[in-house]
Symmetry: C2
Subunit: 245 residues, 2 copies
């Protein structure tokens, strides 16, 4: 058997997320259908992370296995031709060792969350960012975010339906930076709980607007109680950035 | 009479450019219709620059005049409500002196041209950037671009149909920078010839790929002959960034 690693960009807006489900359009299904003309048999495409409906990817990583020896460049060209009408692009394909697994071999996953901080509606960033009306203090957001770095029980930011065995995760880094009216949150961890990034951003926003004090944020985090935390930030602001192996 | 200045963002993809024309959707017409419920009479909205079909704006500036004294904040809110279904956003409105003219008072105009330099198709940047397949040497592009700075005859980069009295323009600055697979060209001048930015980018790209030497670019520029220069870069990569008054 031969194994191939894909790096994939997509605009999540028209998709019901990554994972194949009957009756709806998903990224996984579109990729599987795009590789089938080459592999002949239907192959399963495994992703490094299951993005939700409306979540975008700059560098999702996936792999598949086939008994056909394929030319990596040809796989990329054929898949992109097949995906011509869809906002999915295969950025690279390489043949990898059979021990490589897009999900289980990942050492670090990176996410970006994009906020546009202004009153007026979004013309260019509609479905690509979360519009937050109240002025955000990004320095305060960045400072309070640092208490999340390290190994912690993230129950306060864990969605119901999370399939992880434990709420304990290690956040390697988080930063909040402003570029004009954009406030960009970047996060890195080996793995994340379900909705962890969006729940963190939702609560950081409360600190940014001044509705929550730094102490309140810390209390919420330490409560380990999801009902204490703020609402989940919208899916459209989230970008699965890249994966390190 | 009262005069109001608008700053406007738009995604140019669905529009036949800025300027009102019968039978097609244009940004100017949409703005004029959005302000009419407030002014009652149809007012002319003057833009700082007439963008072409598919060209975007981050901060187009426009003004209109009316005999009604309006609250600037209310103008912004009403216009954005009226524009809800369109990718146009009024970022700010302020009452200005009757001597202010969006076009004639402009001291400096800024444009950004966005290239994505890769082989694979664009998923997130479709209609928002020019995809250039061959690897670009952005340092070489930046270096050769500097010969354009200053007061010159830009005939080589002037489109037929240009309504300017003279092909002589002063380019205040130009830079070419790479951010991962994006190559960003930024330009500033009091005013530009028709298609000047896109024609400059088209020829810079030839230097970036190595098809043209630095000497060849200089020769083309000095020939003052449009037919010597490269093809016009696509509209979708161009962003009218901002105007200084």
């Amino acid at each position: 058997m031969y194994r191939y690693k894909l790096i994939v960009e997509y605009n999540g807006t028209p998709f019901c997320g990554w994972q194949r489900q009957s009756g709806v359009l998903t990224v996984q299904q579109c990729l599987e259908e795009a590789v089938q003309p080459l592999t002949k048999d239907l192959v399963l495409i495994n992703g490094a992370g299951r993005t939700d409906t409306g979540v975008h990817a700059l560098g999702q990583v996936a792999h598949f296995e086939t008994d056909k020896l394929l030319d990596a460049f040809r796989v990329q060209e054929c898949m992109n031709a097949h995906l011509a009408e869809l906002p999915i692009s295969v950025l690279s394909v390489e043949q990898v060792d059979k021990n490589f697994h897009s999900r289980f071999s990942a050492v670090e996953r990176y996410y970006i969350y994009k906020i546009v901080n202004r009153r007026s509606k979004l013309a260019l960033d509609i479905n690509r960012a979360w519009k937050v009306l109240k002025p955000l203090n990004e320095e305060k957001m960045n400072k309070v975010a640092q208490i999340l770095v390290g190994k912690h029980d993230f129950s306060a930011f864990r969605a119901t339906g999370c399939q992880s065995n434990s709420p304990v995760k290690t956040l390697n880094s988080i930063s909040v930076e402003r570029f004009s009216d954009q406030v960009i949150v970047k996060l890195a961890a080996k793995s994340f709980l379900y909705h962890q990034v969006r729940n963190i951003v939702g609560s950081l926003q409360k600190v940014g607007t001044g509705e929550w004090s730094v102490d309140k944020f810390q209390e919420v985090f330490e409560s380990k109680d999801r009902t204490q935390a703020a609402a989940t930030a919208p899916a459209c602001g989230l970008y699965f950035w890249k994966v390190r192996y």
